[in-house]
């Protein structure tokens, strides 16, 4: 395109005579000009009559020369050509005989061809949707599982915290300098029971730790006694769920402590034959 503008600019300056005498026209007609030269000539021909005329003249010259030196080919050549083109000719004939466009064109032909691209996009979208939904289910299940575990952890933590609190409290109790530790050792040699009493000399609170006590039948219970001036004083029933330190009754004065096995609910007086452990203060 810029080349045309250049030519325009040169319009008044183009020496058409020189161009015609340059030999470019001859090379164009003989098929020896390159694309650029050909385009230039075609353009100049439109603008300059004398260039167009010079082209015409040389073409006529070459044609005349070819006709003057014409050599008749073998008649067989024409036959071969017509034979080779017979199919093409027949096709053209048929196209010319049949009227071109029928009046009602079925809708199918008018409808634009469904671009297969959209089908693929739709299919891909559906697959993505299904995959996404499946993934959602998976994620939700994972979430639920994680949520449950978290709850369980919280619960565990709470109970652990509670236990921890208990142990801390127990530690405080035991380490208290005012607290006396009294070991209650097994009375019957066959058995191997052990309990510990922690007795705060100031507050007179009594704590029992059933360190190693054999389990009792469900209709019986352990009971703690304080021996005060030779007489047993009820210090409290040892509940089955006492695992660490259990607070018993407050005992102002005692010389010894003992544990007996009593009927469930306890007894006002101890069954001395059922004594399992004892310890002196």
């Amino acid at each position: 395109m810029h080349f045309c503008n250049y030519v325009n600019w040169l319009k008044n300056k183009v020496d058409t005579r020189a161009y015609i005498e340059s030999g470019i026209i001859e090379s164009y007609v003989l098929g020896l000009a390159d694309a650029e030269e050909a385009a230039e000539l075609e353009m100049l021909c439109k603008k300059y009559d004398d260039i167009q005329k010079a082209l015409d003249e040389f073409e006529a010259l070459m044609k005349a020369h070819a006709f003057d030196n014409a050599i008749t080919p073998d008649a067989a050549v024409k036959d071969r050509i017509m034979h080779a083109l017979a199919e093409d000719f027949a096709k053209e004939e048929n196209e010319n005989i049949v009227p071109v466009i029928p009046l009602n064109v079925p809708d199918e032909k008018i409808k634009p061809i469904a671009r297969p691209v959209w089908n693929y996009i739709a299919a891909a979208s559906i697959i993505l949707l299904i995959a996404s939904t499946a993934f959602n289910f998976y994620l939700y299940n994972n979430y639920k599982s994680a949520a449950n575990k978290y709850q369980a952890l919280l619960t565990e933590r709470n109970s652990l915290q509670a236990s921890n609190d208990v142990y801390r409290t127990n530690m405080l109790i035991i380490q208290d300098t005012d607290v006396l530790k009294i070991n209650l050792t097994t009375v019957k040699e066959k058995e191997n029971n052990l309990a510990t009493v922690y007795w705060n000399s100031k507050t007179k609170d009594v704590y029992l730790m059933p360190s190693k006590m054999s389990p009792v039948p469900s209709n019986k219970q352990y009971q703690l006694w304080a021996i005060v001036d030779g007489k047993p004083v009820d210090a409290g029933i040892i509940e089955p769920d006492c695992n660490g330190l259990c607070k018993m009754k407050n005992i102002p004065k005692a010389q010894a402590f003992a544990i007996t096995v009593e009927q469930k609910g306890g007894s006002p007086t101890p069954t001395l034959t059922a004594m399992v452990v004892m310890g002196k203060v």
Partner: protein, 180 residues
């Protein structure tokens, strides 16, 4: 029976584009001789030239749609189809192979230039043969052999610009020879 109808080139073009088979027949009858001459000048061998002629007319029928009247005459268009088909044949493998077994019926090249070994030169070739050496070789290589100016410049070890100007000069001289 003598032809009553005479078509001008313009009419022929129109009819051909309308796929009129009669016009094609007319075209063959009137133009085949001239085109055969063009082909023989390049190919030399008559049998092979006949094959090329056949191919050329088939192409003319099939490519009639692509002929652009604004770019030149119908005959120039046909002539160039004929020339290109001829050069294609010369460059084809089958031709290259058979050449060795054949009596050389065209010009042979040595490092110095062009040596004609056959007196029976057809059409343009006869004219070119009478040109001066430096013009002759350029026309031979470009028109009859189909080499580009770039290739020629390398083959003859001449600058491309020189090839261009010299070839144009040769063609101008050729024009003068054709006029006679």
């Amino acid at each position: 029976m003598p032809e009553i109808i005479k078509y001008t080139e313009t009419e022929l073009v129109a009819l051909l584009k309308q796929r009129q088979q009669n016009a094609f027949g007319y075209l063959y009858d009137h133009y085949s001789g001239a085109l055969y001459n063009v082909i023989l000048a390049i190919v030399s061998d008559r049998e092979l030239a006949s094959d090329v002629l056949q191919e050329v007319f088939i192409k003319i029928w099939k490519q009639a749609e692509s002929y652009d009247a604004t770019k030149g005459r119908l005959f120039t268009w046909m002539m160039n189809i004929a020339r290109n088909a001829s050069i294609d044949l010369l460059r084809s493998k089958s031709y290259q192979n058979s050449r060795q077994n054949r009596e050389l019926s065209e010009t042979v090249y040595d490092s110095a230039g062009v040596t004609a070994t056959n007196i029976d030169l057809i059409g343009l070739r006869k004219l070119v043969h009478s040109m001066k050496e430096e013009y002759k070789v350029l026309v031979e290589l470009s028109y009859f052999k189909g080499f580009t100016q770039d290739e020629i410049s390398k083959m003859l070890d001449i600058p491309l610009g020189t090839v261009k100007t010299r070839l144009r000069g040769a063609l101008l001289q050729l024009r003068e020879l054709v006029k006679k």
